[in-house]
Amino acid sequence: MWERLVEEAPSFFSYYNVIFLLKAALATVALSAIGCLLGVLFGTLLALLRLTSAAVVAPFRWLGILYTEIFRRIPFLVTLMLVFFAVQLSGNDLPMFGVAAVSVTLIASAFLAEIVRAGFESVHRNQWDAAAAMNFGMLDTVRYVILPQAWRIILPPAFGFFVLFIKDTALASQIGVIELTFAGKVLNNKGFSAVLVFGTILVAYFSVSWPLSRLGKHLEFRLASSRHRRS
Protein backbone atom coordinates (compact mmCIF):
# COMPACT_ATOMS: atom_id res chain seq x y z
CA MET A 1 0.00 0.00 0.00
CA TRP A 2 2.74 2.44 0.95
CA GLU A 3 4.49 2.00 -2.37
CA ARG A 4 1.26 2.93 -4.13
CA LEU A 5 0.83 6.05 -2.03
CA VAL A 6 4.41 7.17 -2.63
CA GLU A 7 4.00 6.46 -6.32
CA GLU A 8 0.72 8.37 -6.65
CA ALA A 9 1.52 11.30 -4.41
CA PRO A 10 3.32 13.48 -7.01
CA SER A 11 0.53 13.23 -9.56
CA PHE A 12 -2.13 13.61 -6.84
CA PHE A 13 -0.61 16.77 -5.46
CA SER A 14 -0.36 18.32 -8.90
CA TYR A 15 -0.82 22.07 -9.25
CA TYR A 16 -4.35 21.68 -10.59
CA ASN A 17 -5.46 19.26 -7.90
CA VAL A 18 -4.09 21.45 -5.12
CA ILE A 19 -5.89 24.50 -6.52
CA PHE A 20 -9.02 22.40 -6.89
CA LEU A 21 -8.80 21.31 -3.24
CA LEU A 22 -8.11 24.84 -2.01
CA LYS A 23 -11.13 26.18 -3.86
CA ALA A 24 -13.21 23.34 -2.45
CA ALA A 25 -11.99 24.15 1.07
CA LEU A 26 -12.95 27.77 0.50
CA ALA A 27 -16.44 26.68 -0.58
CA THR A 28 -16.75 24.55 2.57
CA VAL A 29 -15.86 27.46 4.85
CA ALA A 30 -17.93 29.96 2.85
CA LEU A 31 -21.00 27.74 3.00
CA SER A 32 -20.85 27.48 6.77
CA ALA A 33 -19.90 31.15 7.22
CA ILE A 34 -22.68 32.51 5.01
CA GLY A 35 -25.24 30.21 6.59
CA CYS A 36 -24.16 31.11 10.11
CA LEU A 37 -23.95 34.86 9.49
CA LEU A 38 -27.47 34.87 8.07
CA GLY A 39 -28.39 32.47 10.87
CA VAL A 40 -27.20 34.98 13.48
CA LEU A 41 -29.34 37.65 11.84
CA PHE A 42 -32.51 35.56 11.59
CA GLY A 43 -31.81 33.82 14.89
CA THR A 44 -31.61 37.20 16.62
CA LEU A 45 -34.88 38.27 14.99
CA LEU A 46 -36.51 35.03 16.17
CA ALA A 47 -35.16 35.56 19.70
CA LEU A 48 -36.49 39.16 19.65
CA LEU A 49 -39.87 37.92 18.45
CA ARG A 50 -39.95 35.60 21.43
CA LEU A 51 -39.50 38.59 23.77
CA THR A 52 -42.57 40.41 22.49
CA SER A 53 -45.77 40.32 24.47
CA ALA A 54 -48.20 42.30 22.30
CA ALA A 55 -51.28 40.35 21.25
CA VAL A 56 -50.95 41.51 17.63
CA VAL A 57 -47.67 39.69 17.13
CA ALA A 58 -48.71 36.58 19.08
CA PRO A 59 -49.33 34.47 15.94
CA PHE A 60 -45.88 35.39 14.61
CA ARG A 61 -44.36 34.62 17.99
CA TRP A 62 -45.88 31.16 17.93
CA LEU A 63 -44.77 30.59 14.35
CA GLY A 64 -41.26 31.61 15.37
CA ILE A 65 -41.23 29.20 18.31
CA LEU A 66 -42.61 26.43 16.08
CA TYR A 67 -39.89 27.16 13.54
CA THR A 68 -37.04 26.95 16.08
CA GLU A 69 -38.41 23.73 17.55
CA ILE A 70 -38.97 22.07 14.17
CA PHE A 71 -35.74 22.91 12.39
CA ARG A 72 -33.63 21.72 15.30
CA ARG A 73 -35.19 18.29 14.87
CA ILE A 74 -34.71 17.71 11.14
CA PRO A 75 -31.44 16.19 9.88
CA PHE A 76 -29.37 18.48 7.67
CA LEU A 77 -29.56 15.95 4.82
CA VAL A 78 -33.38 15.99 4.89
CA THR A 79 -33.50 19.81 4.96
CA LEU A 80 -31.08 19.81 2.06
CA MET A 81 -33.35 17.45 0.08
CA LEU A 82 -36.44 19.52 0.87
CA VAL A 83 -34.79 22.75 -0.29
CA PHE A 84 -33.26 21.00 -3.31
CA PHE A 85 -36.58 19.61 -4.53
CA ALA A 86 -38.51 22.76 -3.66
CA VAL A 87 -36.09 24.80 -5.76
CA GLN A 88 -36.21 22.26 -8.58
CA LEU A 89 -40.01 22.11 -8.67
CA SER A 90 -40.31 25.88 -8.57
CA GLY A 91 -38.26 26.00 -11.76
CA ASN A 92 -35.79 28.30 -10.09
CA ASP A 93 -32.22 27.94 -11.34
CA LEU A 94 -30.56 28.65 -8.01
CA PRO A 95 -27.07 27.11 -8.13
CA MET A 96 -26.41 24.14 -5.84
CA PHE A 97 -24.20 26.28 -3.63
CA GLY A 98 -27.23 28.51 -3.06
CA VAL A 99 -29.42 25.53 -2.23
CA ALA A 100 -26.91 24.38 0.35
CA ALA A 101 -26.49 27.91 1.76
CA VAL A 102 -30.27 28.25 2.17
CA SER A 103 -30.36 24.88 3.95
CA VAL A 104 -27.56 25.83 6.33
CA THR A 105 -29.30 29.16 7.00
CA LEU A 106 -32.61 27.44 7.78
CA ILE A 107 -31.02 25.18 10.38
CA ALA A 108 -28.52 27.71 11.71
CA SER A 109 -31.32 30.26 12.31
CA ALA A 110 -33.16 27.77 14.50
CA PHE A 111 -30.10 26.78 16.55
CA LEU A 112 -28.77 30.33 16.82
CA ALA A 113 -32.21 31.60 17.90
CA GLU A 114 -31.86 29.33 20.94
CA ILE A 115 -28.28 30.45 21.58
CA VAL A 116 -29.27 34.13 21.37
CA ARG A 117 -32.29 33.52 23.59
CA ALA A 118 -30.11 31.82 26.21
CA GLY A 119 -27.79 34.84 25.99
CA PHE A 120 -30.69 37.25 26.56
CA GLU A 121 -31.85 35.16 29.51
CA SER A 122 -28.38 35.23 31.04
CA VAL A 123 -28.75 38.98 31.61
CA HIS A 124 -30.29 39.60 35.01
CA ARG A 125 -34.01 40.31 35.16
CA ASN A 126 -33.34 43.53 37.07
CA GLN A 127 -31.68 45.07 34.00
CA TRP A 128 -34.95 44.66 32.10
CA ASP A 129 -36.90 46.13 35.04
CA ALA A 130 -34.68 49.19 35.26
CA ALA A 131 -34.90 49.80 31.52
CA ALA A 132 -38.68 49.32 31.45
CA ALA A 133 -39.16 51.71 34.38
CA MET A 134 -37.15 54.34 32.47
CA ASN A 135 -39.41 53.95 29.46
CA PHE A 136 -37.08 51.94 27.25
CA GLY A 137 -38.98 50.03 24.59
CA MET A 138 -38.10 46.39 23.92
CA LEU A 139 -35.75 47.22 21.05
CA ASP A 140 -34.02 50.04 22.94
CA THR A 141 -33.56 47.72 25.95
CA VAL A 142 -32.00 45.03 23.78
CA ARG A 143 -29.82 47.49 21.88
CA TYR A 144 -28.47 49.57 24.76
CA VAL A 145 -28.62 47.17 27.71
CA ILE A 146 -29.10 43.50 26.86
CA LEU A 147 -26.96 42.87 23.77
CA PRO A 148 -23.92 44.75 25.13
CA GLN A 149 -24.02 42.33 28.10
CA ALA A 150 -25.22 39.18 26.35
CA TRP A 151 -22.82 39.06 23.41
CA ARG A 152 -20.05 37.51 25.49
CA ILE A 153 -22.42 34.71 26.42
CA ILE A 154 -23.70 34.35 22.85
CA LEU A 155 -20.44 34.49 20.91
CA PRO A 156 -18.64 31.31 22.08
CA PRO A 157 -21.51 28.84 21.42
CA ALA A 158 -22.41 30.64 18.17
CA PHE A 159 -18.83 30.29 17.03
CA GLY A 160 -18.84 26.66 18.17
CA PHE A 161 -21.93 26.07 16.06
CA PHE A 162 -20.21 27.61 13.05
CA VAL A 163 -17.24 25.25 13.45
CA LEU A 164 -19.61 22.31 13.95
CA PHE A 165 -21.40 23.19 10.76
CA ILE A 166 -18.20 23.26 8.71
CA LYS A 167 -18.24 19.49 9.19
CA ASP A 168 -21.96 19.07 8.54
CA THR A 169 -21.69 20.84 5.19
CA ALA A 170 -19.86 17.71 3.96
CA LEU A 171 -23.38 16.49 3.18
CA ALA A 172 -23.76 19.24 0.57
CA SER A 173 -21.56 16.98 -1.60
CA GLN A 174 -24.68 14.84 -2.05
CA ILE A 175 -26.39 17.48 -4.20
CA GLY A 176 -23.21 18.26 -6.13
CA VAL A 177 -21.86 21.35 -4.38
CA ILE A 178 -18.15 21.41 -5.14
CA GLU A 179 -16.83 21.52 -1.58
CA LEU A 180 -14.14 19.41 0.09
CA THR A 181 -16.02 16.13 0.29
CA PHE A 182 -17.25 16.41 -3.28
CA ALA A 183 -13.69 17.15 -4.38
CA GLY A 184 -12.64 13.94 -2.63
CA LYS A 185 -15.26 11.95 -4.51
CA VAL A 186 -14.16 13.48 -7.82
CA LEU A 187 -10.50 12.67 -7.20
CA ASN A 188 -11.37 9.18 -6.00
CA ASN A 189 -13.35 8.61 -9.20
CA LYS A 190 -10.30 9.70 -11.20
CA GLY A 191 -8.63 6.59 -9.84
CA PHE A 192 -6.46 7.94 -7.05
CA SER A 193 -6.15 5.68 -4.04
CA ALA A 194 -8.95 6.15 -1.52
CA VAL A 195 -6.43 6.22 1.33
CA LEU A 196 -4.62 9.12 -0.27
CA VAL A 197 -7.77 10.98 -1.32
CA PHE A 198 -9.89 10.65 1.82
CA GLY A 199 -6.82 10.89 4.05
CA THR A 200 -6.04 14.24 2.41
CA ILE A 201 -9.67 15.38 2.70
CA LEU A 202 -9.70 14.49 6.40
CA VAL A 203 -6.47 16.44 6.91
CA ALA A 204 -7.92 19.36 4.96
CA TYR A 205 -11.04 19.49 7.18
CA PHE A 206 -8.84 19.16 10.24
CA SER A 207 -6.63 22.06 9.19
CA VAL A 208 -9.68 24.27 8.77
CA SER A 209 -11.63 23.14 11.80
CA TRP A 210 -8.93 22.70 14.42
CA PRO A 211 -7.53 26.27 14.43
CA LEU A 212 -11.09 27.60 14.52
CA SER A 213 -11.98 25.28 17.44
CA ARG A 214 -8.90 26.51 19.28
CA LEU A 215 -9.87 30.09 18.58
CA GLY A 216 -13.36 29.33 19.91
CA LYS A 217 -11.96 27.84 23.14
CA HIS A 218 -9.68 30.84 23.55
CA LEU A 219 -12.61 33.20 22.95
CA GLU A 220 -14.72 31.37 25.51
CA PHE A 221 -11.96 31.55 28.09
CA ARG A 222 -11.24 35.24 27.43
CA LEU A 223 -14.88 36.29 27.55
CA ALA A 224 -15.75 34.15 30.57
CA SER A 225 -12.89 35.54 32.61
CA SER A 226 -14.07 39.09 32.01
CA ARG A 227 -17.74 38.38 32.35
CA HIS A 228 -18.90 41.55 34.03
CA ARG A 229 -16.41 43.89 32.53
CA ARG A 230 -17.30 46.50 30.02
CA SER A 231 -17.09 45.87 26.31
Binding site: R73, P75, S193, F198
Partner: protein, 225 residues
Protein backbone atom coordinates in the same frame (compact mmCIF):
# COMPACT_ATOMS: atom_id res chain seq x y z
CA UNK B 1 -43.94 26.32 -6.96
CA UNK B 2 -47.34 27.95 -6.92
CA UNK B 3 -48.91 25.47 -9.32
CA UNK B 4 -47.49 22.48 -7.50
CA UNK B 5 -50.18 20.29 -6.03
CA UNK B 6 -49.22 18.23 -3.05
CA UNK B 7 -50.37 14.65 -3.45
CA UNK B 8 -49.82 12.94 -0.16
CA UNK B 9 -52.23 10.19 -1.23
CA UNK B 10 -49.55 8.63 -3.40
CA UNK B 11 -47.11 8.16 -0.58
CA UNK B 12 -49.36 6.80 2.19
CA UNK B 13 -48.88 3.21 0.93
CA UNK B 14 -45.15 3.72 1.52
CA UNK B 15 -45.58 4.89 5.10
CA UNK B 16 -44.81 1.44 6.62
CA UNK B 17 -41.45 1.45 4.81
CA UNK B 18 -40.66 4.90 6.20
CA UNK B 19 -41.60 3.79 9.69
CA UNK B 20 -39.50 0.64 9.29
CA UNK B 21 -36.65 2.95 8.29
CA UNK B 22 -37.27 5.04 11.40
CA UNK B 23 -36.87 1.93 13.56
CA UNK B 24 -33.51 1.23 11.90
CA UNK B 25 -32.52 4.88 12.48
CA UNK B 26 -33.23 4.50 16.17
CA UNK B 27 -31.33 1.20 16.28
CA UNK B 28 -28.33 2.85 14.65
CA UNK B 29 -28.55 5.75 17.09
CA UNK B 30 -28.82 3.46 20.12
CA UNK B 31 -26.02 1.11 19.03
CA UNK B 32 -23.58 3.88 18.20
CA UNK B 33 -24.59 5.87 21.29
CA UNK B 34 -23.96 3.02 23.72
CA UNK B 35 -20.81 1.95 21.89
CA UNK B 36 -19.66 5.57 22.00
CA UNK B 37 -20.63 5.83 25.66
CA UNK B 38 -18.34 2.92 26.52
CA UNK B 39 -15.49 4.38 24.47
CA UNK B 40 -16.18 7.73 26.09
CA UNK B 41 -16.13 6.33 29.63
CA UNK B 42 -12.78 4.71 28.98
CA UNK B 43 -11.50 7.84 27.25
CA UNK B 44 -12.67 10.20 29.98
CA UNK B 45 -11.24 7.93 32.71
CA UNK B 46 -7.88 7.92 30.96
CA UNK B 47 -7.98 11.71 30.55
CA UNK B 48 -8.82 12.13 34.25
CA UNK B 49 -6.71 9.42 35.87
CA UNK B 50 -4.35 8.07 33.18
CA UNK B 51 -0.63 8.46 32.55
CA UNK B 52 0.66 11.17 30.26
CA UNK B 53 1.25 9.00 27.16
CA UNK B 54 -2.25 7.49 27.37
CA UNK B 55 -3.75 10.94 27.90
CA UNK B 56 -1.99 12.26 24.79
CA UNK B 57 -3.29 9.34 22.73
CA UNK B 58 -6.87 9.91 23.91
CA UNK B 59 -6.77 13.65 23.28
CA UNK B 60 -5.35 13.03 19.80
CA UNK B 61 -8.30 10.69 19.13
CA UNK B 62 -10.82 13.22 20.43
CA UNK B 63 -9.24 16.16 18.61
CA UNK B 64 -9.08 14.31 15.31
CA UNK B 65 -12.61 12.93 15.38
CA UNK B 66 -14.27 16.12 16.59
CA UNK B 67 -12.54 18.21 13.93
CA UNK B 68 -13.34 16.11 10.87
CA UNK B 69 -16.75 15.30 9.35
CA UNK B 70 -18.38 12.00 10.24
CA UNK B 71 -19.30 11.56 6.57
CA UNK B 72 -15.67 11.65 5.43
CA UNK B 73 -14.61 9.39 8.30
CA UNK B 74 -17.09 6.81 7.03
CA UNK B 75 -15.92 7.36 3.44
CA UNK B 76 -12.43 6.55 4.65
CA UNK B 77 -13.56 3.40 6.48
CA UNK B 78 -15.65 2.25 3.55
CA UNK B 79 -13.40 3.11 0.59
CA UNK B 80 -9.88 3.31 2.01
CA UNK B 81 -9.73 0.38 4.42
CA UNK B 82 -10.15 -2.15 1.56
CA UNK B 83 -6.81 -0.86 0.21
CA UNK B 84 -5.32 -2.04 3.49
CA UNK B 85 -7.05 -5.38 3.20
CA UNK B 86 -9.97 -4.63 5.55
CA UNK B 87 -13.36 -4.89 3.86
CA UNK B 88 -16.40 -3.64 5.73
CA UNK B 89 -20.04 -3.84 4.70
CA UNK B 90 -21.64 -0.41 4.29
CA UNK B 91 -23.70 -0.94 7.45
CA UNK B 92 -20.61 -1.93 9.47
CA UNK B 93 -18.64 1.02 8.12
CA UNK B 94 -21.46 3.40 9.03
CA UNK B 95 -21.92 1.92 12.49
CA UNK B 96 -18.17 1.87 13.18
CA UNK B 97 -17.77 5.45 11.96
CA UNK B 98 -20.68 6.71 14.01
CA UNK B 99 -19.47 4.87 17.12
CA UNK B 100 -15.93 6.21 16.84
CA UNK B 101 -17.33 9.69 16.27
CA UNK B 102 -19.70 9.38 19.22
CA UNK B 103 -16.84 8.06 21.38
CA UNK B 104 -14.89 11.26 20.77
CA UNK B 105 -17.77 13.60 21.66
CA UNK B 106 -18.85 11.50 24.62
CA UNK B 107 -15.27 11.46 25.96
CA UNK B 108 -15.36 15.27 25.96
CA UNK B 109 -18.75 15.41 27.66
CA UNK B 110 -17.86 12.86 30.33
CA UNK B 111 -14.49 14.44 31.06
CA UNK B 112 -16.27 17.72 31.81
CA UNK B 113 -18.68 15.78 34.05
CA UNK B 114 -15.86 14.09 35.95
CA UNK B 115 -14.20 17.43 36.49
CA UNK B 116 -17.33 18.84 38.05
CA UNK B 117 -16.97 16.63 41.15
CA UNK B 118 -17.14 19.19 43.86
CA UNK B 119 -14.14 19.22 46.13
CA UNK B 120 -16.23 20.31 49.09
CA UNK B 121 -18.57 17.34 48.70
CA UNK B 122 -15.59 14.98 48.63
CA UNK B 123 -14.14 16.57 51.72
CA UNK B 124 -17.46 16.34 53.51
CA UNK B 125 -17.65 12.65 52.61
CA UNK B 126 -14.13 12.12 53.87
CA UNK B 127 -14.87 13.84 57.17
CA UNK B 128 -17.92 11.62 57.57
CA UNK B 129 -15.58 8.65 57.39
CA UNK B 130 -16.58 7.32 53.97
CA UNK B 131 -14.09 4.94 52.41
CA UNK B 132 -12.81 5.67 48.90
CA UNK B 133 -15.24 3.08 47.49
CA UNK B 134 -18.15 4.53 49.43
CA UNK B 135 -17.22 8.04 48.28
CA UNK B 136 -17.42 6.89 44.69
CA UNK B 137 -20.61 4.92 45.26
CA UNK B 138 -22.60 7.48 47.28
CA UNK B 139 -21.12 10.86 46.41
CA UNK B 140 -19.28 10.93 43.11
CA UNK B 141 -21.39 8.67 40.90
CA UNK B 142 -24.80 10.18 41.76
CA UNK B 143 -23.41 13.67 41.29
CA UNK B 144 -21.69 12.87 38.00
CA UNK B 145 -24.78 11.06 36.68
CA UNK B 146 -26.93 14.07 37.49
CA UNK B 147 -24.55 16.48 35.79
CA UNK B 148 -23.99 14.24 32.77
CA UNK B 149 -27.54 13.19 32.02
CA UNK B 150 -28.73 16.38 30.24
CA UNK B 151 -25.73 16.80 27.89
CA UNK B 152 -25.72 13.07 27.12
CA UNK B 153 -29.42 13.20 26.26
CA UNK B 154 -28.80 16.18 24.04
CA UNK B 155 -26.00 14.32 22.28
CA UNK B 156 -28.28 11.33 21.72
CA UNK B 157 -30.84 13.55 19.97
CA UNK B 158 -28.14 15.09 17.76
CA UNK B 159 -26.85 11.59 16.95
CA UNK B 160 -30.33 10.38 16.03
CA UNK B 161 -30.46 13.19 13.46
CA UNK B 162 -26.91 12.33 12.39
CA UNK B 163 -27.90 8.75 11.48
CA UNK B 164 -29.52 10.15 8.33
CA UNK B 165 -26.11 10.24 6.65
CA UNK B 166 -26.17 6.42 6.60
CA UNK B 167 -28.45 6.91 3.57
CA UNK B 168 -25.41 8.08 1.62
CA UNK B 169 -24.04 4.53 1.95
CA UNK B 170 -27.27 2.84 0.93
CA UNK B 171 -28.36 1.91 4.45
CA UNK B 172 -32.16 1.80 4.38
CA UNK B 173 -32.87 3.79 7.49
CA UNK B 174 -35.44 6.60 7.44
CA UNK B 175 -33.66 8.93 5.01
CA UNK B 176 -32.49 5.97 2.92
CA UNK B 177 -36.06 4.73 2.57
CA UNK B 178 -37.17 8.26 1.68
CA UNK B 179 -34.60 8.35 -1.15
CA UNK B 180 -35.75 4.89 -2.33
CA UNK B 181 -39.43 5.85 -2.38
CA UNK B 182 -38.55 9.14 -4.07
CA UNK B 183 -36.83 7.32 -6.91
CA UNK B 184 -39.98 5.36 -7.68
CA UNK B 185 -42.76 7.89 -6.99
CA UNK B 186 -41.01 11.25 -7.58
CA UNK B 187 -43.31 12.90 -5.01
CA UNK B 188 -40.18 14.44 -3.46
CA UNK B 189 -41.65 17.25 -1.37
CA UNK B 190 -44.34 15.00 0.07
CA UNK B 191 -41.89 12.24 0.96
CA UNK B 192 -39.26 14.46 2.52
CA UNK B 193 -41.79 16.54 4.43
CA UNK B 194 -43.29 13.37 5.90
CA UNK B 195 -39.75 12.13 6.62
CA UNK B 196 -38.99 15.41 8.39
CA UNK B 197 -42.17 15.02 10.46
CA UNK B 198 -41.15 11.50 11.48
CA UNK B 199 -37.74 12.78 12.61
CA UNK B 200 -39.47 15.52 14.59
CA UNK B 201 -41.81 12.98 16.15
CA UNK B 202 -39.15 10.46 17.16
CA UNK B 203 -36.76 13.06 18.55
CA UNK B 204 -39.62 14.71 20.47
CA UNK B 205 -40.59 11.36 21.95
CA UNK B 206 -36.97 10.61 22.81
CA UNK B 207 -36.58 14.05 24.43
CA UNK B 208 -39.73 13.56 26.47
CA UNK B 209 -38.71 10.07 27.63
CA UNK B 210 -35.23 11.26 28.51
CA UNK B 211 -36.58 14.26 30.42
CA UNK B 212 -38.88 12.04 32.47
CA UNK B 213 -36.12 9.48 33.07
CA UNK B 214 -33.69 12.25 34.03
CA UNK B 215 -36.02 13.83 36.57
CA UNK B 216 -37.04 10.49 38.10
CA UNK B 217 -33.59 8.89 38.24
CA UNK B 218 -31.24 11.78 38.79
CA UNK B 219 -33.41 14.78 39.69
CA UNK B 220 -31.89 16.36 36.58
CA UNK B 221 -33.83 19.37 35.30
CA UNK B 222 -34.33 19.29 31.56
CA UNK B 223 -36.25 21.15 28.92
CA UNK B 224 -38.15 19.08 26.42
CA UNK B 225 -38.73 21.97 24.03
Amino acid sequence: MLDYTFQYGQIWPHLPRLLGGAVLSLELALLSFFGGLMLGTVGASILTFGGSAARKAVSAYVTFFTNTPQLVQIYFLYFALPDMGIILSSFTAVLLGMTLNAGAYLTEIQRAGFESRRQSEMEAAEVLGFSRGQQIRYVILPHVARVLFPPLSNQFILMTLGTSMAAVFGVEELTGQALNINSTTFRSLEIFSVTALIYIAITLMASALLAVAGSVLFRARMRIL
